[in-house]
Amino acid sequence: MTTLTTATTLHTPAVGTAHTRIEGRDKVTGAARYAGEVPFADLAHGWLVLSTVARGRIRDLDTESVLAMPGVLAVLEHRNAPRLTTDYTSLLGMRPDPTCAVFQHDRVPHLGWPVALVVAETSEQAREAAETLVVHYEQEPHDVGFGAGHPDAYAADGHMPAVTEKGDLDAELAAAAVVVDAEYTTPEEHHHPMEPHAATARWDGGRLEVTDSNQGATWVVGELANLFSLDPAAVRVRSEHVGGGFGSKGVRAHQVAAVMAATVLQRPVRVVLTRRQMFSLAGYRSPTVQHVRLGADTDGHLRALAHRSLSQTATGYEFVESSAGVARVMYDADAHHTANRVVRLDVPSPTFMRAPGEAPGSFALEAALDELAEKCGIDPIELRLRNEPDRGPVSGLPFAGRNLAACLREGARRFGWGERDPRPGRRREGRLLLGTGMAAASFPAGAMPSTASATAHPDGTFTVRISAADIGTGARTALTLVAADALRTSPERVRVRIGDSDFGPAMIAGGSMGTRSWAWAIRVAAGELRERLALGTGIPPEGITVRSDTTEAIGALAAAERHSYGAQFAEVAVDPGTGEVRVRRMLGVFAAGRIVNPLTARNQLRGGMIWGISMALHEEAVRDRVSGGHVGADLAGYHVATHADVPRIEADWIEDTDPDDPVGIKGIGEIGIVGAAAAVANAVWHATGVRHRSLPIRPDRILAAAAEAPDA
């Protein structure tokens, strides 16, 4: 027995101070191993075969010749694969995505659907055999034609009620002095983390072990246990390092196929997705068509707000890109109508992608506000300030910390907004047209139940264990700072272990709720451990461990409108001769709770803003109506912003500690992208005098719009 000698009195808070990533050196030196790199003895490699038709039936697969190829061990397909259970609800309250329930039937619901897994001794052998496998289809006519007028569209709930209606919309629009009535579109967008999806499955002493790249071990364990009818305790999922997720890394076809193959072959099997496969198997953000109608008095007071969004989903799976949801938080109106609708098409399943709903929704709503400001002759910031609601416009609930106005004012001051000439097309620099734009932003702030443990060791150090996932956000480092403060010790004395489902149930890295949910659980466990240690009974060799579970505490949170906020500002240069748009500078000021680690927080917020540039100007997955699949499904064809597209970007925040959170956190994962595309689009209008309501604002669209403009 030793006695604890930590100098608690000398503790200086770690939360709020900049810390480099704990695993940063391992990552930049290559020492950090990702899921596709972890070595296993006797490892076999699986390669997925995807459908080349968009709808139909598998008539036959010529597996015999493939099985005779060098190194090939097995071909799994719907006639021989283990059966799965799909009648369950996941951790996130959703039905399983049918794309994950591989090889259960002969139906092909979209192009790029998994029809077989070829397993071989080497990855190269598996790939060659997979590409050789001939699959015979009975092809049926498909429909991938997304558009506003689709007759099969219907209102769908998703994570929020599909429709909200307050007041008489037609009457208020008729009574409004100023009306904006416009349609905005965003294309199909993909989250392609640098690290492609990869998993290795193996059975070890009756337990299924999966080495994976995911956003939540608890989530993946739950899905795999359900799919394979296993006791969750018999499944262990680990993901030490994750090279990006953005919503795409839950359960996907590759983990399920790997588990099937490991079960059939009784040896470890790894399946890695290719970039091209990720376009149909990793989920994506649905395209949207959004119809926004705003009616205002001459002073800008909103009498009417209608936001109606259409997105697409797969035939067998309902996922709703809830773009109209953001209007339920941002602005009130005497008549306030919102609706999220979907249409089921022969396309892959969409899913969560950074700021699901808010990212495309804020583009439409905040661009419409900009149009209203122009029509009313009111400064866009002033228009927003005049329409600040004092209660949730739809819920009627009080706001728990709405610091949007402070973000707008601070952003305006720092950006130099006050010197702006509101008239479009006035600033020139040689052949270039210059313009500035802004937009407001919000994203829900929440927490989900999690468990954690904190252990004090006799040497004065601590170990914290939680099934958190660091998907590149710096969560591991942030949690170390939170734990250090709760233990009143220095971060160097705390080891935070994450990415292992054996550490107990916890929230995923998603919904801007990961770090907050985990920090809460760690705070409770560490706080109780500190109290135990204060009794001074000494620490046995095995240490003292305290466990926490935040289910009850989070359930006791009072109902309120809880959100992070932000104000986005952008300056662009447009070459009217070539249609090229370049962002010159951006500023984002956020009210997003207490910032745990300013270094990684700024990085994450800037990352969101850069993605907003990319969304505004570059990203668009093109679907070919004839084949039903993508054209240019790779990172040469799907453009994201490059370094040369990214100018000086400032992200900062105002004091916004959440009094209802033990650490004061709200969450910063998504807010950085919200409103960013609208700020850029509004700046393009300010530069050119032409409204661009369809993203991305490509050179050809600038040229075409200029040619159509009345004063061209």
């Binding site: 060659e128 091209r276 570059h618 070919d624 084949s627 240019g632 490059t642």
Partner: protein, 330 residues
């Protein structure tokens, strides 16, 4: 990917002999395009003959005062060469406008000329493509073609050539030299890329099994005042949606000499001869530049979604020639 044999050639004749008449063998230069195509299954060679160690990596003066550029000179070395930068600045700019530093350090001049289109239907083996599988169709015509050809295309293929370098070479009357089984030969770049017609899979005049050994640039005083301007959908690391190599010699307000070539508008770099004829001898002003562009673009046959390229190229011609004339007047 399919297994393949790999051999390294040590001299030109040996390389050509190694390749022989085997249609399943390819020369390997920097591999920056071929290896990608092998990964995606577009190319499935049984054998690669690596030519990177051949003594073809020099840039030397020619007796007539031009330059001889070896086929294995890397794009990076080409762009950095002082004589290229001084005498043919548009060529250096064109090379630097393409790819990334890493790729340019691998990619070779010969390989650059022979790189394949980035048409999304061509690079996806699950889709029809007359260039990849003759007779299978061209889905781009009815499908995604916003970055496809407006000049010289056919009902069989509307793909564009991706090279920036070749656009500048076309403007400067480069000649491609090769070594075939029956000995050396040459082809002006203007004739090197074949018309699309109904054989889009036949791309160049290179005889079967021949190896490009070097490219010559004839002396061209006008080239010293030249520029390459590339328009793309992001600031770097993207293929052009329209580009222009231009050279202009103005004296006393009159165009003495001019060179123009367009990129990303056709299956080959598009030397704008009709435009040059309008320019030479005409007053050096925006009206002349626009008339020159219009003369060339009269032949444009845009598809429903790429008509913007006509205006884009026209705007580029006017803007770049105006810049060159203003700089000459200083």
């Amino acid at each position: 990917m399919r297994e393949f044999d790999y051999q390294r050639a040590s001299d030109v004749a040996g390389a050509v002999a190694l390749l022989g008449a085997d249609p399943d063998t390819r020369f390997l230069g920097g591999g920056t395009n071929l290896v990608d195509l092998m990964k995606s299954g577009v190319e499935r060679p049984a054998r690669l003959v690596d030519i990177r160690e051949l003594p073809l990596d020099e840039i030397e003066p020619t007796p007539d005062g031009g330059l001889r550029i070896g086929a294995t000179v890397t794009n990076g070395d080409l762009a950095a060469h002082p004589e290229i930068r001084r005498r043919y600045p548009a060529l250096a700019q064109a090379v630097l406008a393409g790819a990334s530093g890493q790729l340019r350090n691998m990619a070779t001049v010969g390989g650059n000329l022979l790189q394949r289109t980035r048409c999304g239907y061509f690079t996806d083996v699950t889709k029809p493509c007359n260039k990849r599988v003759p007779g299978s169709g061209c889905p781009a015509i009815e499908g995604e073609h916003h970055n496809h050809a407006i000049l010289g295309a056919s009902g069989h293929c509307v793909a564009v050539h991706p090279s920036d370098m070749a656009v500048a070479l076309a403007a400067f009357d480069a000649v491609v030299h090769f070594h075939a089984a029956d000995g050396p030969g040459q082809s002006p770049l203007a004739d090197f890329y074949l018309p699309v017609g109904d054989t889009p899979h036949r791309e160049t005049a290179l005889p079967p099994g021949a190896l490009i050994t070097h490219v010559t640039l004839p002396p061209a005083p006008v080239a010293a005042r030249s520029r390459y301007r590339k328009v793309r959908e992001r600031a770097s690391y993207a293929f052009a949606i329209g580009s222009l190599a231009a050279a202009l010699d103005v004296r006393d307000g009159v165009v003495q000499d001019a060179r123009l070539a367009f990129g990303a508008v056709a299956s080959r770099p598009w030397r704008a001869g009709a435009a040059e004829r309008v320019l030479i001898g005409a007053p050096a002003d925006a009206g002349t530049y626009a008339a020159a562009a219009d003369a060339e673009l009269a032949a444009a046959r845009p598809l429903p979604h790429n008509g913007y390229k006509v205006e884009l190229i026209r705007n580029l011609v006017v803007a770049v020639l105006s810049e060159l004339a203003e700089e000459a007047a200083r």
